[in-house]
Amino acid sequence: MNEQNNIKMLTGNYAAAYAVKLSRVEVISAYPITPQTPIIEKLSEFVERGELNARFIRVESEHSAMASLIGAASVGARTYTATSAQGLLYMGEVVWWAAGARLPIVMGVVTRALAPPWSIWTDHTDILSFRDSGWIILFASNAQEVLDLTIQAFKIAENEKILLPVAVTWDAFVVSHTLEPVSIPEQRIIDEFLEKKRPQPHALNVDEPFSLGNITFPSDYMELRRSIDRAMKYAKEIIVSVDKEFGEKIGRKYGGLIEEYFINDADILIITLGVIGEEAKEAVDRLRKEDLRVGLIRLRSIRPFPSEILSKYCCDKKLCIVIERSVSFGGGGVILNDVLSTFYRYNVETPTIGYIAGLGGREVSVEDIVGMVSEACGRLKDGKLPNEPLWYGVKIGERYE
């Protein structure tokens, strides 16, 4: 077999494990949670078989998973963990710590609904509740992209002008447990793309002692916070350039902060993320056959938020439709709010309708997306644009009030 075209049937989770192996991670630390477990099982196999020369810490909690990576990354190691839902929330305090300490940790987040009630299915509210934490948050939509984006995440995180942790996320089961053909790049090419990890400039070193995280007075705290915001803004360029370089070296390009699908001549743009983005492509194809000029923007980066490019593409459209698997209770849709705030700040006046759909793993089919587009078009025609996002496909009745 041609090594360049080493295709394996992999789930999204196994694709992540292969990416971690190819990235020559030095310390892995993880605690099991459904649906993340196959990632760490596969990584354990790689480590035990000697295929990946890494230290694997089987921690007693997610809080310790991230804390141990903070310890490992603080002395300059390349590090990885993965989690979901409750695990991510339990880890919460140190998730923020990792960003504040400017440590280039990479974490896979298999997005899963939060309890109660218990749900193991996909929903983006878990990772989006860390929207403001200083983590770069990237969304993949299939197993191949999980592999590619995980490798790219190390390059983005370790850029000396960024030095922020990166979360690569994908939908529970639909991506995490579904087998797809995945092309696995050669180790040699990844070694070239992703140089050996050098300790970051602020790695702790006994030959040059300094402290990381000392109490900081009001006279300096704001400057340190602003430096995170600036790194995040710089990351917009780097996410694009890393995607481009990956494309040149490995042959797959996604578009950086967003993936575009038929947007130039579109009157109507669907803005969505995750695996709904895959279904939305089919919906676009179908609607175009009906002579409706629909295009798609699949958000790949939520932090940094692609405000400039989004406003550029949306400003001359007749209608934008945001479809998201998340909600800010009493405050709208998490993604819708970011889109609308971008539009306001960048003087985009395109009418925009938000849909909350697919929470707790409810299927969002091609038909559903077609349905949302038709309904939104009807509302536009009738001049009945809602002020709040619409809950798509929810059952209504006394039982649910």
């Binding site: 230290r55 310790s64 804390a67």
Partner: protein, 300 residues
Amino acid sequence: MSKVLGLPTSELLLKGNASCPGCGAAITLRHVLKAFGPKTILIIPACCTSVIAGPYPKTAFNVPVLHIAFAASAAAGAGMSEALIAKGRDDVNVVVWAGDGGTVDIGIQALSGAAERGHNMVYICYDNEAYMNTGIQRSGSTPPKAWTTTTPGGNPGFKKDMIGIMFAHRIPYIATLNPAFPHDIINKIKKAKSIQGFKYLHALSPCPPGWRFDSSLTIKVARMAVLTGIWILYEIENGVLRLTGPSKNLLDKKKRLPVREYLKLQGRFAHLSEKDIIEIQEMVDESWMKIADMLESNKR
């Protein structure tokens, strides 16, 4: 290295640090760092030493320090220890320095996990027997009947047996420390340094503002804790207990000073009744009976 009274002269905890006058923890830490030497990375969770370290961009330490969240220090140490192995560094001491709240309460899960997995690191709990940094609130390590701001009538609880808990983790080295006995500290740290695996040390750290005694009396209070037997100096190496320092001679109750001599130095015990003091004396005697049992089981 030149030596005065056998103690290393290097100072890795610098002068002018922000500890309170007479801080027992700072005295112990000074000796601990002397014994570890400069190839040491300290991991400090939220505790008094977060303040002693001084504000950004300065530091009171001549060794690198990772400040970390309250519950996270043992896990951070575990990760750092593994990262150093991955990087082929076997010459760096990974040392957690945590207070009693960060150890016996909020940090105990991470500590238990790290100890059970056996990472090569040293965990030191400096025990000032309450949440002193936040203003003298009771912790799981506060002794029975002691006054704190959250036990104004005296602590209704007991002092958690942290050594017993760590003993159950079958780690290769456990020891107790006390700032009145610096040679004992240095010897134990040097031993901990030489042993592979997870090492746990527990230091009594008299706290003048929290225990309500004059800052000139720290060493006296600390020494009295040992001489009355309420604090026992020992080490447990691979499960075998050995008394150290003055505690070696205190197995016989008659040789121990009454615990009253320790209690009366501290305002936090000023409200105790005669009955209270007798009860505390009984607890001290019981803890020595446990030591005697362990010494007996060493022989078997």
